[in-house]
Symmetry: C2
Subunit: 257 residues, 2 copies
């Protein structure tokens, strides 16, 4: 079994080192991570600049670790060409992210960007996130959940176009795992305004999440708020069926061929 | 009507200037674009750096143009807070992109990132792309297609969670518009390897698209290859239904609450 690991927090963080440790008993682990923080990079690609890739000291004997001067998707794409020589790994795993990727955050997440990239090429792909941004977070209790999900995924696979977004509450004793859907919600007051010493404005991303369905008990937000590990099956295919469309589209555009 | 325009090629390119011109008869056009090229930025957000925003000379009287030192999603988010003061525009339009965003490219596109951002906040959102990267491309023939789609969208709206990805063949006389789905396919040989003067490798993104369903006549690729304007209804909601899932997930994870 060949397992490609990536993340968006960079090759030096604890979350990915712990993940490499949890996965090494399943096969050959090759981790390819950004050379620094790339949170919020979604499925971004590097077009305007060249990419560098170099091998680093792995956290465990028998594993491999590389850093790439790009995004998580760059890491996956470049490693498939250079390290896997066009063959596909058996599994792509991203994380463990320092911070939640629940709800709408999945769209912006670089961790999930790597997972979606795996999904586009038909490789079973799973992303793991812990709900704390602490760089010294304790990931040890995540091991049993990571191992259970990975063992099942390797044995049984995932449907085409489906990946898993796993969020783990920062709690040493989660009550168990729960299958969820992504909670509807949005971020508000997203920028803090500052004035620089020259009198010019600048803005920094911040804000807080508004849960638009706080009563729903089947969402990732509910699971995390009730100490469950949230497992959200997620799809990259964003086409919609034509029968969902309003009449004006069908009538005015339609299939003219 | 307030129309927010963005793109991923930057505030200075012809594609967005032409789009502003096509839209100004529909209402108040406020364009907020990256301060330079941001192709392939997907839904990336700027976390690690501050953002600058400043007003520029618009291409047409009565319109407004701003540049932001970030991604297309940053442009949409920051302008909603600073220019729209939390109110929503009636429409978000991105483009006209210099280059196709058909098939799998929709996932990486910064143009479509702005459109998806609009979709997450419930604003009818449409992206337009022309299938040439030429900076001097002739966009004039796009006008009638842009106007027809925008007129219908403003009058009739779009279903919740659905946006339009419109790709226009670089051909002064398209045969008409066609409702399509995103073609399945992938990119191959994505990186060119170079050696720098110090003997170190570097890589640059390149590659070519492999159409995995060349016989299908309902895809965006087919439409563009046959001189039709492709209109692909696209959704940002990536959840999948639990009944699509294999037994192991339901059995081993399930809803434990």
């Amino acid at each position: 079994m060949k397992i490609l690991v990536s993340n968006d927090d960079g090759y030096q963080v604890r979350g990915v080192h712990e993940l490499i440790g949890f996965l090494k008993e399943f096969g050959e682990v090759i981790a390819v991570c950004p050379d620094g923080p790339r949170s919020g990079q979604s499925m971004a690609l590097t077009f305007e600049n060249p990419l560098r890739m170099s091998e680093c000291q792995p956290p465990f004997d028998g594993t491999k670790l590389y850093k790439v001067s790009g995004t998580p998707v760059d890491c996956v794409k470049l490693s498939l060409q250079t390290l896997f020589k066009g063959e596909k790994p058996d599994l792509i795993v991203a994380g463990i992210n320092h911070g939640s990727n629940s709800a709408v955050n999945v769209l912006y997440s670089g961790t999930m960007g790597a997972v979606f990239e795996g999904c586009t090429i038909g490789v079973p792909s799973v992303g793991f996130s812990l709900t704390t941004h602490s760089k010294d977070a304790d990931f040890s209790f995540c091991k049993k959940f990571v191992k259970e999900i990975i063992a099942h995924t390797l044995q049984n696979g995932l449907p085409e176009g489906v990946c898993l977004n796993v969020n783990i509450p920062d709690n040493c004793e989660p009550k168990g795992m729960m299958l969820t859907r992504s909670c509807r919600g949005h971020w508000t007051e997203e920028y803090k305004r500052y004035v620089d010493p020259n009198g010019r404005d600048f803005y920094w991303l911040t804000g807080h999440f508004i849960n638009e369905e706080p009563e729903a008990t089947d969402t990732d937000e509910w699971a995390l708020n009730h100490d469950f590990v949230s497992v959200t099956p997620t799809s990259i295919y964003r086409d919609i069926h034509f029968d969902e469309l309003p009449e004006w589209i069908i009538k005015n555009i339609g299939n003219k061929n």
